[in-house]
Symmetry: D2
Subunit: 423 residues, 4 copies
């Protein structure tokens, strides 16, 4: 691994937690250059909902490459883009009664967020965006401003401009955080002014698997409507099926004004991002938000296949919900056995356990890695062990991973108890 | 094309100038869904230096995919990344005596620029960045702030913060713009303060093919050294061989503190971006600048092949210089025939002709498209017809494209003259 | 009044509520150019704590002028400044065990606030300031950013930068707002980051007479200490005796790091402002925060006399507390008679009644003006009728004013009830 | 002087250069507490155009105070304000054919500048302000952003937002700086965008007595008109007669959209400031830019007297021009004797000599102080010895001061020459 240490920047991160060199992968299994296999509960941080190198899409991609299909086409029309758009329309938007324009942005989540903030500001002529505690939306300057984590904010090196933070659902215990938000909106002297938009995740991935309730999300949308603010749902991590439905807010009966999607949208782990926006807000002039890689046609090919394969009917969603149910039961039972030491969080296949500190959580994930499980932490103190495994994971593999995880939790907590009692 | 009009956002741009649906492509040839072929003088806006679907890389990519090589791995170590790093080190950095760390950012140019600005601000504890007239660096908030074009700046919707613009080489005619910059730096009361860094392109692509001279670039580096500012060269469009050397500044005998690369780096048109930074500035903490698609392993595979294929010796560079020479002669002769109506600009295979207005330039490129040539305009008024064809273009195809272009120029200028005389 | 309408800017405000031309004034009595007298419950918005044209200071000022004492001296040493500083030290700081440096800023409250924010940012190297809902700190750009009122914020024309707002004491009903603040500070991912400082008023004057409790203020100071943030108390309106003690926080047993004073500091209604800062934060370099009128020597003369006259012993404070007690009783009794229609707010001689809307409050103050009482509204909707009469008001005059006020309240509320019942 | 050292903030500035305690003053003479007299060539940094304690205004002020005239009246109508407005209208605006609304801002120059920037931004809906190299406009956040001096900018602690700097007249030697400005405006990709307004001083006081030519100022106004930007002339230091006419731009035949005045406007050295704005830009809503001391009625009384005494006819202006002529001759002759070592700068009674460094200039002013002359330096390196004496200075006193100054220059330059030759 000398070359990494020699010339890769110190900014590298995940490779420090998982210090091996990976060679190949399939579905929820990673294989390193020694042939060792790992259960993947990381799932590309939400990018590999359909697993590594999904065989359904793989052949389509190879066929496309072999046919010399357009690989890079800026934002010109291509057959691959056309096919993706038609499939997205027929498989996702139409069945859900959703009427949105699709903007292809630079193929990263942060770029989609930047585009969403711009269009919200342009449409309203206002500059303040409301974001929430523990929200994560990216690290480019505009997205970092709406990202709550001080680690990224500090690295951004610029003061937060045009953003005010509000407490997320549950942040103030029993106190209804929307009441505070509403009061601040109605009170012309709250410091909030009249925001252009609200940006929110239904399930906060990086923030520690905090879940917004249906009631809260509906209340938030109502607030946006009453106060003429655009509602932006950042569904980059929680979208594309992870919650059990394609969008994480489907069961809430809301219609955000703007939606950002990325990560698993490309299907195969290939870079792709879109902004969905209601037609009346599609006031862009040609090329106003541009970028070289808006047309990642390989991703269009696999994205389309993903939609066709998994979203033609409700079988996949049902399967995801079933696995989420299994996961929840398992985690709840662990919580029950370690009452007070860990707490279940999340929903869909975006669940985890919160421990007393990032230190405890890290001990667990490090031990797990040594036993063949790749899993990361999240939350403000990295105190939440987070399961983001591919939705397509085989049940056996899921259980195998959970077994490793549970044993590690048991051992780490037991050892900690022993030390505590000894001292 | 109904689906595009129906649901693709109004932000779409290039597809308006080239309103067909493309199916496939090879080297400098694009083919639409009717089978019609086009000479590609656009080259993915600098992304397709090695041509569309370069056969050298294509098989490597297919092999990798077939072997279930890691596609998406966040920023974990993979064999593909290792191989890329080793090749980049051996083929690019070492032979040029360059000692840099490599940071994989989100796979877009704008993301690399954002990372560069952050690290410059963090290293210096200062916030002002100096950018230049007609500079283009991306459209996310931080990059848009250093982008000179008001079209993007306005869409950004936020006031320019922490950025001051200086005139680029030649912007003030015979007046040495570095003298102004130097005076402003030495004068504590110039309004400039003490900037953290300077960001500059050696050849301004979007800005209209303005070329910085070797002397000016050396002077700029000297100014940066004397005044303790970091020199960031944004080589996203002019790099990866387009100027006739791998980096656009190689013949200037300078060593920027930070270099951004993207576009053709991935080789095959796949999204990829890096920041090169001198070790002393690599003060990143793990994950401070993160992103889901930092590890686009498909791009690593093709990027490595591109380096091996084209940068193992100087044959490719020599070939590029030869084509650039042909191009220059041809454009100079057109200029000579239309004295006063067009002006040669640029260097390397990044040359073009400046016309009286964007209107004239657009007439030419529209006519060219109808005749099978894809070529775009650039510059503040889109008044520059810009040739960014793949460096690998066959000479016959290059000449074919130039023939079309020349005939269109002749006709448009003649018609304009006719109308002018008639009125 | 033609000249005002003809050439004074539309920005003029108070004169619209009190559309007469005033000629002279003494203590709490204003006289217009027709000789009509008005009871002054406005008190120069807190500037005339010692009444209009206080005879104790008047002669000192005339003597100083007649002696050709320095009127304008930039920030040079003058006898008048020396005498003021010695008196401020002996009469205010020393008796209270307060060890502060005195910075003379431009002679307006907003200028003192700007200086306070700068020095907090410079001392910490951080940029975020926390301000509170309904806080008012001035209208220059830096002060407007920490001012909560959207009316001023919008006029500022720039996005709020480097400021986050927190709910003031009582803003969330029974929910302890400091708990939210503390959680946000301890949570590295709350969006708040690590602020440089907190700026707060103990009694929010413009914000509608919201009162911070001693416990809350102590908790806030403790929070600042624990989290290494500077505590700035803006005592511009509530200071100089208005609360019943010289500083509004004296009975709270706290020691802010920075205190801003202005308004009644000059004693005679003359422009003057200071920043008090603990010595360790006095890291200013000479002239870093400058301004032409820092040395308003006339104000130094009257300011010193005010301190000598009213703060040599505790008689004045006792008198103020007595009047505050009378005021409270009277307002509480009005509240009792109009249960549900108005609510007592404030403390010291900074009390008032909150009505259902700004409309009701305005009707009352307009009626009051017609009957010879000058009184203004405050609060986010101007719904609070605010009594800021000179602390030196004669009890007879105070009662006269209160009689007028009470009769107006009775009539306006009765008429509103009549109309409501009729419809 | 113990008290100053003990408790006055380190920010104190002028008192360090002139370390005595002043007692009284008349016209251009200051007297310290030991009875020592000084010739005042500082003139309150432009505030004392009519001299210290001008006897013409003194009695009016005392009479007003004795009559209990309104001292502090917020922005209510008073007789003193009415009389000032009528006199300003009849003596200043009407005779010059100027049609402006008068806004009373907080009584400091920086506050007037902040108001001017706000109203420019609100009227245009744009945020960028263009300011010039060496411009000084104040130290509150908005004004500091348009101030060129890095010393204040750094203390401001926030990145410059919404401001771009352009080179002032003469900054680039023979190169016409307006050509650069114009090119940047016409070039949509210059980085400048479409500014809301330009703020400029006709004579840069703090910036080192740089003088804009009539041609340049007319060109600047024409540029503003062509590009729909507001022209703000900051006449705070150069206005009120200092240039030889009331406004510093009168002989240029221009009509700025907005003018800021302060310093000598109050006449007696009392805090006062106004913004003059063309009626169509007076779009303020009531109280949008407010402040406690907008109505400094003492200053209205003396300001009116100043207008009546000195601006009823052209005698005063003629006298000022005559003194400016004497001053210029004297300084030019000094320059001639020390060819190469000092250079004449400025116009009106705002002239000085530029030396090789701030060190030389300081030696001269220190020596001068020891000989009874108070004079300051300005410029980016404090290299300009600046004469800002009261316009009313007696010719004998003027000559006395110039004699001292000349002797100090001769001695300091001679000594420097001696040392240089010796080494």
């Amino acid at each position: 691994m000398g070359i990494f240490k020699d010339i890769e920047s110190n900014v590298r991160g995940y490779c420090r937690a998982f210090p091996v060199v990976f060679r190949k992968a399939h579905n929820a299994t990673l294989v390193d250059d020694q042939g060792k296999e790992y259960v993947d509960f990381l799932g590309g941080a939400g990018t590999l909902n359909y697993g590594h190198n999904n065989p359904e899409f793989k052949q389509a991609l190879i066929d496309y490459i072999e046919s010399d299909g357009i690989t890079h086409g800026l934002d010109m029309h291509t057959e691959a883009k056309r096919d993706f758009l038609e499939t997205f329309q027929s498989h996702i938007l139409e069945p859900r009664g959703m009427d949105y324009k699709v903007q292809f942005t630079g193929p990263t989540g942060t770029n989609a967020v930047e585009a969403a903030l711009k269009i919200a500001r342009m449409n309203t002529g206002r500059q303040t965006i409301v974001s929430f505690t523990n929200g994560f939306h990216g690290v480019t300057q505009g997205a970092a401003a709406v990202t709550a984590n001080g680690y990224y904010k500090k690295a951004n090196g610029m003061p937060t401009t045009g953003v005010q933070f509000m407490p997320f659902d549950g942040y103030l215990g029993d106190f209804d955080t929307l009441k505070y938000f509403e009061k601040a909106l109605e009170d012309g002297s709250s410091g909030l002014g009249h925001p252009a938009a609200v940006i929110v995740e239904c399930i906060q991935g990086e923030g520690g698997l905090n879940v917004a309730s249906a009631e809260w999300m509906r209340g938030l949308q109502a607030l946006c409507r009453r106060h003429d603010m655009l509602l932006i749902v950042d569904d980059i991590q929680a979208g594309c099926g992870r919650s059990g439905t394609f969008f994480s807010f489907e069961e809430f009966d809301i219609q955000p004004d703007i939606i950002t999607l990325s990560k698993s949208l490309g299907g195969y782990g290939l870079p792709m991002a879109v902004v969905l926006l209601k037609e009346k807000y599609d006031t862009w002039k040609p090329g106003e938000h541009n970028g070289t890689f808006r047309g990642n046609n390989h991703a269009f090919v696999t994205a389309r296949r993903a939609l066709e394969t998994y979203w033609s009917d409700d079988r996949f969603a049902t399967e995801v919900k079933h696995k989420a149910f299994l996961l929840k039961n398992r985690l709840k039972s662990i919580q029950a056995r370690h009452a007070g030491d860990c707490k279940h969080k999340g929903r869909g296949i975006m669940q985890g356990l919160e421990f007393a500190s990032g230190e405890v959580a890290s001990e667990i994930t490090e031990l797990a890695f040594s036993r063949g499980l790749i899993i990361e932490t999240s939350g403000s103190d990295d105190q939440v062990v987070k399961i983001l495994t591919p939705l397509t994971i085989e049940e056996a593999n899921l259980n195998k991973g959970l077994d490793i995880l549970e044993s590690c939790i048991d051992e780490v907590l037991a050892e900690r108890l022993r030390v505590a009692n000894a001292s």
